[in-house]
Amino acid sequence: MLELAWLIPIFPLIAYTLIIFLTKKSKSISVAVALAGIVASLVISIGVLVETIQKGITMAEPFEVAVKWLRLSAIDKYTGLNIDMGILIDPLSAVMMFVVTSIATLVIIYSVGYMHGDPGFSRYFAYMSLFAFSMLLLVIANNFFEMFFGWELVGLCSYLLIGFWFEKPSAAKAANKAFITNRWGDFGFMLGIILLYINFGTFNFGEISRIIGDGASGVGAAILTLISLLIFAGPMAKSAQFPLHVWLPDAMEGPTPVSSILHAATMVAAGVYLLARGFVLFNESTETLLFIAYIGGITAFIAASFALVQRDIKRILAYSTLSQLGYMVMVIGVGSITAGMFHLTTHAFFKCMLFLGAGSVIHAVHTQDIFEMGGLSKKMPITTWTFIIGALALAGIFPLSGFWSKDEILLATHQAGFTGLYWLATLVAGMTAFYMFRLIFIAFFGEKRTDHHAHESSPWMTVPLIILAFFAVFSGWGLVKMGYGSMVFFGHPHHGEINLGIALISTVFALGGIVLAWLIYYRKIVDTDLMKQRFRPIYNLLWNKLYIDEIYEWLFDKVMLGVAWLCNQCDRKVVDGIADGLGDTVRHTGGWMRFMQTGSLQNYALVIFGAIVIIVLLMATPVLGGVIR
């Protein structure tokens, strides 16, 4: 099986090509092709996972194959540029690939029901396959460059899929926002890996960790910090960490299955995966790790607080995704990739399920405002119960999957001695439980507010929900039993024993959140509007997400477009301006500078010759080395 691992990304690519070039016309065939592609990858990745466990392939001795992709031989004193395209199979990538393929399969099945009757039906499945390809390429990559390649591709797919319903201007706007925000992250990432290459002479993960392990890198601590910080810019954008988190909530403009797989389960987790993959690098610089940890903590907290007041079901889930991603990044920052990846895995399942559930709700009631829903528990039992399971898992209630991974995170944070972050995280756990059950009590159990004719969705949509629910319940416990900690780790294997104290505290917080939500939104012991009035400023602050978007909009308009405008003016007007201005001044003194007012053509000429004169003068001065002696 391992030899076939390289096929895992290829199948979806083939599916994409087929759909685009051949089967675009026929919806059913396109679906079949997309499904076939992803299922094939799923089968192989299961095989790979099993074999990885059986053969005892560890992080230390991974299975690696590579082909030359770009070879520029080094000419004596000039360094060359050697880039491979390879596959790297170790528990980390094996598990990740299983997660991606299984979720992609379920989501594609779900989409058949969800996208039914959409004009862009085939195009949708083509994009989905393309995304699967890029994501798997990113996961299976054995070097930073290849990873960056997939990284950019998933960005492109997310752009295409967010803007899928481009009739909606908001969708178009969101797509651009997401793409451009991510470009700024990639900017750092790209610069980082180039610097990395210049200093280490390789992109390959294995070789880099070897070089660092031997301590023979001869790279200064400062430059290592710089590199790791630059690379972290990538995850900050992709995993929507504060302050680059603004694009993710808007990304909910896309179709809900897209939000579930790209912007909840897998793509946004790519940043976390990168952190785990390149951890050896980040581990070299304590400053970077500290930065990562606190960025994660801040994200987790502010996102949870935003989620408290949202009305849009998808936005609530989006902010909870943000805060969970914050968890993962934070815990990797404190040094435990085990906990981070563990939570990534469990979160992928239950968050994907929550989104699909939300999708099925939206499909039924055609609104996203939870205050317009209510009373759905009767009409859509399956959706309701799966949703509740997901919420419980997210809240981290024993024995659902979320409990185990969240406990891991809290434990790791506590053991690493970040007491502040630990209490913050625990608090966030409570907030999470609160806003999730606020959602549930309003949308599913609250009295019916508008007359929507909700009905349970088609089996295409419910079956994946049920399967995911199964994962949401058992994946955490199962992975612990499988000894996840001894498979995916950095340095020494990590055995996930339950620390009763921490587990208890977090559970108490979670239950507290649920009870609070129950009291406020089900029993209505307090008038929410009154509370809104009482805490108006805070409420507004949270409702407007601390005005961060507005600040960015302002910055973007004022600064970037301003600079553009300025350059443009320079290029257009200044020449004329100077010319005319001078012309005006000298017209009175005499006509000898009339030429200053001639048409633009001669102003170009003026600029050319003026530039020459200035350059010569500069050359004469020591500024440029005073080459004229």
């Binding site: 290029d571 257009r572 009339r594 030429f595 007012q597 001639t598 048409g599 633009s600 053509l601 001669q602 000429a605 003026l606 010759f609």
Partner: protein
Amino acid sequence: MITLEYYLILAAALFCIGLFGAVAKKNAVAVLMSIELMLNSVNINLVAFNRFLAPSQLVGHVFAIFVIVVAAAEVAVGLAIVISIYRDRFSTEVDNLDWLKW
């Protein structure tokens, strides 16, 4: 005794006069003529250098001849375009050439 410097200074002066004309003249034909002046200053340079530095071979002269010929071709094209512009706008003023805004 006239040394190389004289020629170079003459050429430089000629270049500058041509330059002034090129940016100062309003009439496209006049601009063309000024550009010719610039090219001729180059010719003076070339011939002078050849005479004073490498009189043995005639590279400078050959270069000058080529410059003259190419300049003639350029002028021919230039005048043709001037004519076509005149047909459009009934003027050969370079100031009027601002339809293509920046």
